[in-house]
């Protein structure tokens, strides 16, 4: 079996924080672009597409790394409901990171818009034009985006709770620093040290 680890690997932590920036940027770009008629609309929508595909690629890479490197276990004394919430929310986060870009890509395809990756690079349509399918995908992309944002806020609040209130080492497993994985488990140290 894999030895007990106290941190995610440096690559996992790098991917986590890189994707955190991308995903949060996507929420703001998405909600900003659909509420403006200003010239910024066009670069925002272009970035939204490029970044969406980047996230899709990154999350697939991240899942592969996760399967390869595994994850530190949660503290043994974490109450069961909180453990369950942690596991479920992580499944949902991974799922949404995969599904949202695919919904966006499919939605553009169903509306017969060219899917511009960047500049002259286009992606193929993954669905034929269809008003009904476009509407279904549009609604899914729209409502899941708000659910996704709420989930990220919850994730963020939980991370702060672990870091500031419980001080149980969970935040340290993903903290960007230190890079090396040789620190003592934070949960072993007295909480009020």
């Amino acid at each position: 079996m894999t030895p007990v680890r106290h941190r995610f690997s440096p690559l996992q932590r790098l991917l986590h924080w890189l994707m955190a920036i991308c995903v949060i940027a996507m929420f703001f770009i998405g909600v900003g672009m659909v509420s403006t008629v200003m010239p910024g609309y066009l670069p925002l929508i272009a970035i939204h597409k490029t970044l969406g595909i980047a996230i899709l690629v990154l999350v697939l890479l991240r899942l592969a790394v996760r399967v390869h490197s595994g994850a530190p276990s949660l503290p043994a004394d974490l109450p069961a409901p909180m453990k369950l919430a942690a596991h479920l929310s992580h499944y949902a986060l991974y799922g949404l990171m995969i599904v949202m870009p695919l919904l966006g890509w499919a939605m553009l395809s169903a509306a017969e818009y060219p899917v511009v990756l960047y500049g002259k690079k286009f992606l193929p349509a993954i669905l034929p034009q269809s008003a009904a399918v476009h509407t279904l995908l549009w609604n899914a992309h729209y409502y899941l985006a708000f659910a996704f944002f709420a989930l990220v806020l919850l994730h963020f609040a939980a991370a702060l709770l672990h870091a500031l209130v419980r001080r149980d080492g969970v935040f340290e497993t993903i903290a960007p620093l230190p890079l090396r994985d040789d620190a003592a488990p934070a949960s072993a140290a007295p909480a009020d040290a």
Binding site: V31, G32, V34, A131, A157
Partner: protein, 356 residues
């Protein structure tokens, strides 16, 4: 260890306040970005809403330019445009074109003689997989110089306040150019006699990376037959679509595409201001309309003639309208596709241009 350290200390309380503050701050920034805290922001939704007639929009239809008839044909590039832009569409050759003659009205049943502005949506596809979509109108200038002014115009013209239009005109002197055209230009009896103009300026990029601002027009081969709205009314409410279907059945109809290049200093950011007549103009090819297509269930129905879908070699300029139009056209497309059940899918009567 319990969920939270016991006893519940002051610093724990402080941490909770901090967490609530940080998470709340992010949520507030999100709400601000979404415009929920700025009710005065002009959103694409508001622009589309302002287009609706008093009884509400025609469900399932385009929110503006709702009345129209679709066509197919080709764009025949003569190669001259390659001097302006390295877009494939300017390479000598024939490229499939799909388009739609339309009337600038949110009412799909409006009588032809009641709509002053006519338009053409056009999509040209090239073998490199790129597309050029454009939506043009027949007025020589746009009635407003900014999207905000256009929104104000829509509100003023729909307003019951008798002074609303006067106040708009006073605040937007540029409207006079459009008004002069609308009041005095003759009407025509055929879409084939109309000139369609991009009005917005776009940037043409050539092989050397040189960028030139240009506007384009489709100049009709058919000589205009001047008429008045009163005389047009006598021909019937749907005369134009019947006429163009019949005319195209008889012979393909042609328009020359002419690109006019701005001199430095010409207003590229304001489609309500025309450029001087003497500007360099390049005829880049001919649009040949070969067949009209029934509007219901026709090939145009599912196409958004978004003017920002451009091939590489043509780009947006500092004109604020293409972005605003793109955002509003998208809302219109999202709404009408969601209302597909209200669209008259089944053709129950013989539509002009359809073979019985």
């Amino acid at each position: 260890m319990p969920l939270f350290p016991q006893p519940f200390s002051r610093s724990t309380l402080g941490s909770f306040v901090l967490i609530a503050g940080v998470v709340g701050g992010v949520a507030a920034a999100f709400a601000y970005t979404a415009g929920w805290l700025s009710p005065q922001r002009l959103t694409p939704g508001k622009l589309v809403e302002a287009l609706a007639p008093p009884g509400g929009p025609a469900l399932g239809r385009r929110r503006n330019h709702a009345k129209g008839i679709c066509f197919t044909g080709v764009f025949e590039a003569n190669g001259n445009g390659a001097a302006l832009s390295n877009a494939y569409v300017f390479t000598k050759g024939q490229y499939p074109a799909l388009g739609r003659f339309n009337l600038a009205t949110p009412n799909p049943d409006a009588a032809d003689s009641t709509v002053r502005i006519r338009g053409m949506g056009l999509r040209i596809a090239t073998p490199d997989g790129q597309e050029w979509r454009t939506a043009m109108i027949d007025s020589p200038v746009f009635p407003a110089s900014t999207p905000q002014a256009f929104h104000a115009l829509l509100l003023a013209s729909a307003s019951k306040d008798p002074n609303a239009m006067k106040e708009f005109v006073a605040a937007n002197p540029g409207f006079a150019n459009f008004k002069a055209w609308a009041d005095s230009a003759p009407w025509t009896t055929s879409f084939a006699q109309d000139r369609f103009n991009s009005l917005d300026a776009f940037i043409f990029v050539d092989d050397f990376g040189v960028r030139r601002a240009g506007r384009w027009s489709l100049l009709p081969a058919a000589a205009p037959v001047a008429t008045t709205d009163a005389d047009l009314a006598k021909l019937g409410p749907d005369f134009l679509e019947k006429e163009i279907a019949e005319r195209v059945r008889g012979a393909p109809q042609r328009w020359t595409m002419a690109v006019t290049i701005a001199n430095s200093g010409d207003p590229t950011n304001d489609p309500s201001r025309a450029w001087p007549e003497d500007r360099r103009t390049v005829d880049v090819g001919t649009l040949i309309v070969r067949q009209t297509e029934a509007e219901p269930d026709g090939p145009c129905r599912d196409v958004n003639f978004d003017p920002t879908v451009l091939p590489s070699g043509i780009a947006i300029s500092d004109d604020p309208f293409p972005a605003a139009r793109s955002s509003a056209y998208r809302v219109s497309y999202d709404l009408r596709t969601a209302e597909a059940k209200d669209y008259p899918y089944t053709v129950t009567h013989t539509v002009a241009g359809a073979t019985p």
